[in-house]
């Protein structure tokens, strides 16, 4: 299967669509024209893209939780609670893991078991099983825009049902919802699946209905160097724009060093615009999303508030358009609605307090972002070279060659040679560069930074640092220092 970064033809698309809509019984109730009419009735302030554009213009940061439960009545109550008590500006519908893997029968069993036990036995909302009408009941019961958030390698049917169901934003991408979320899906396949999703969004856009699209920035959420996630974001944005997507939100997962986090957003802002423009997508709107720390959390709820608030602070100082909020239950399990609202309120307080402070142009941030941008350019140039100018082919080849390589990813299509570790200031550097196509200067820079840490800690630079860093925030630190330090 050869895949190129070109817009799907109507023939290709509608041929595939028949198949997609028959994957589960709810597919047959999706109707494009009727959906266009339905979506056009959704008031402006409840459209995701509009609210983001307004926030961007005003220079403020919106807050959004993650949330989803098995039973739709409970799901509505949950989301209403989060907008009323959590002061959420944007709402999610997090999809359960069976749906993410197209295991609709198991999801059905999960719904049944949840009704029986009175506990949500699914870790999210099984939108496909519920189908268009129930999704519309959900989206129309809320005051704020709602987005589908998931982690689905083949999300074609889910996309059809979500948009028909009144959602106005959709997360994911052929790389970002494959490599961290799958073991066996090839990139050829998932990029093709997401071309379908993006083309569908493009067709709605052409019909006058704009659906916001958000590549998943944080990848595996664990010590991901900004150059890697930013490069993936740019590639997925180019792929989406090629299919006609016009409204993009690109993201990044917090690492914890403030300078580096703000620099990551700065470099994402600059190069994203540059690449879109270069390929003629000057009319594509771009907003940004910052994810509060996505790796292991502390067990203690008060300490979690500390982590959450620090994420909120970095988001505000980086002037992102929205921030995805964690909860004080993060280390334990899917949060109660109270815990979820608590994380939101802590975040809202910090975000609002800091909204008039801006760190994007301080010298240390500029310096760090220039490093990130040269790393990104190394990667993206090589992707372009490998794909002979085609970013779909280039991405596939790049993963094969380890030119893009996501730490801790479960996918067997990921090289897994790159190893990140924190430097002495807590910024993320590379202990193993693997096949990332860095210049010697950049390689030396990473090496030097880690050797500084090694010297300070009086131990060799080794994989033990990586392990220590993975646990560090859960144990109350950023840098995983050796015991007795």
């Amino acid at each position: 299967m050869e895949i190129t970064n070109t817009m799907l033809t109507n023939d290709q698309f509608f041929e595939e669509r028949k198949n997609v809509l028959s994957q589960w019984k709810t597919g047959k109730f999706v109707n494009f024209d009727e959906t266009v009419a339905y979506q056009k009735l959704i008031p402006n302030e409840k459209r995701f893209g509009n609210k983001l554009a307004k926030a961007k213009k005003e220079g403020i940061t919106l807050i959004q939780p993650r949330a989803g439960v098995a039973l739709h009545e409970e799901h509505i109550k949950l989301l209403q609670y989060l907008e009323d008590e959590g002061e959420a500006d944007l709402l999610p519908t997090t999809i359960d893991s069976y749906t993410r893997l197209n295991r609709y029968k198991e999801a059905e069993a999960g719904i049944t078991q949840s009704r029986e036990t009175g506990r949500s036995m699914l870790n999210g909302f099984p939108a496909v099983n519920y189908g268009v009408d129930i999704c519309r009941v959900v989206t129309s019961s809320l005051k704020n825009p709602v987005q589908v958030r998931h982690g689905t390698p083949d999300a074609r049917l889910l996309t059809e049902i979500s948009i028909a169901g009144g959602f106005t934003s959709y997360e994911g991408g052929g790389i970002s919802y494959n490599i961290p979320y799958s073991k066996n899906h090839s990139l050829e396949k998932t990029i093709a699946h997401w071309q379908y999703t993006d083309r569908l969004v493009g067709m709605y856009e052409e019909a006058g209905v704009s659906i916001n699209r958000e590549p998943f920035g944080p990848l595996t959420g664990t010590l991901i160097p900004a150059c890697i996630s930013n490069s993936v974001a740019i590639i997925e944005s180019l792929l989406a724009a090629t299919q006609g997507v016009k409204d993009l939100t690109v993201g990044y997962g917090q690492c914890g060093n403030l300078i580096q986090d703000v620099a990551a957003i700065r470099s994402l802002n600059i190069l994203m615009r540059a690449y879109l423009d270069r390929f003629g997508f000057t009319d594509v709107r771009v907003t940004t999303v910052f994810h509060q720390w996505m790796g292991g959390f502390p067990q203690d709820e008060s300490k979690s508030f500390g982590v959450i608030s620090w994420g909120a602070a970095a988001a505000a100082l980086a002037k992102v358009t929205k921030v995805i909020v964690k909860t004080p239950h993060e280390a334990m399990g899917v949060p109660t609605k109270e815990a979820n609202a608590a994380g939101l309120r802590a975040t809202k307080q910090v975000i609002s307090m800091l909204k008039d402070q801006d760190f994007l142009e301080i010298p240390a941030v500029i310096t760090e972002s220039e490093i990130i941008m040269s790393e990104m350019k190394c990667i993206l140039d090589k992707v372009e070279e490998l794909g002979k100018g085609d970013y779909a082919m280039g991405a596939i080849a790049a993963f094969e060659a380890g030119v893009i390589d996501v730490p801790f990813a479960p996918s067997r299509f990921n090289a897994g040679k790159v190893m990140p570790a924190r430097d002495n200031d807590g910024a993320i550097r590379l202990l193993e560069v693997g096949n990332l196509p860095f210049t010697q200067d950049l390689k030396d820079y990473h090496k030097r930074k880690l050797e500084q840490r090694g010297a300070f800690e009086k131990r060799p630079v080794s994989f033990q640092m990586v392990i220590d860093d993975v646990y560090a925030i859960g144990k109350g630190f950023l840098v995983g220092r050796p015991k007795k330090h």
Binding site: S97, Y181, K183, A331, M332, G333, F408
Partner: protein, 136 residues
């Protein structure tokens, strides 16, 4: 030289890879022979691997919340496959949400697990308990 063999993996549709990679690395460092199946491992794959490698224990991780559904029936299938009384350990974030751990433990023990671990179980605990299990 009596090295114990342990099958590790993350059960079901679960893709949480970080803990699994580190667990496998640390258990190997601690002297066990590790057969790591990675993420998204089915009950059948656990059993096959245990038979093939003549394993001394199966260490099941589940993080994403569907652990209760995914682990259901594993003990019976082990027995059927001839893995009589093989130690079955489960850990991670086994159920959806923050639940009372005693209840969760109880439910998993009734499903035939040998030992059940709460979220954020430390590497040291895991290694210690395995050594005790194998009578070291």
């Amino acid at each position: 030289m009596n090295q114990k063999t342990i099958v590790t993996g993350v059960i079901g549709a679960d893709v949480h890879a970080v803990g699994n990679k580190i667990l496998a690395y640390a258990l190997e460092e601690a002297g066990f022979k590790i057969v790591n199946l990675g993420v998204m491992v089915s009950q059948e794959e656990f059993i096959e691997a245990a038979i093939e490698t003549n394993a001394d224990a199966i260490l099941v991780s589940s993080l994403y919340g569907h652990g209760e559904i995914d682990c259901h029936g594993l003990r019976d299938k082990c027995e059927e496959a001839g893995l009589k009384d093989i130690p079955l350990l489960a850990g991670g974030n086994l159920v959806v949400g923050k639940q009372n751990f005693e209840d969760v433990e109880e439910r998993f023990m009734q499903m035939g697990f040998t030992k059940v671990y709460p979220p954020n179980t430390q590497l040291e605990t895991t290694i210690n308990d395995l050594n005790i299990l194998f009578g070291k």
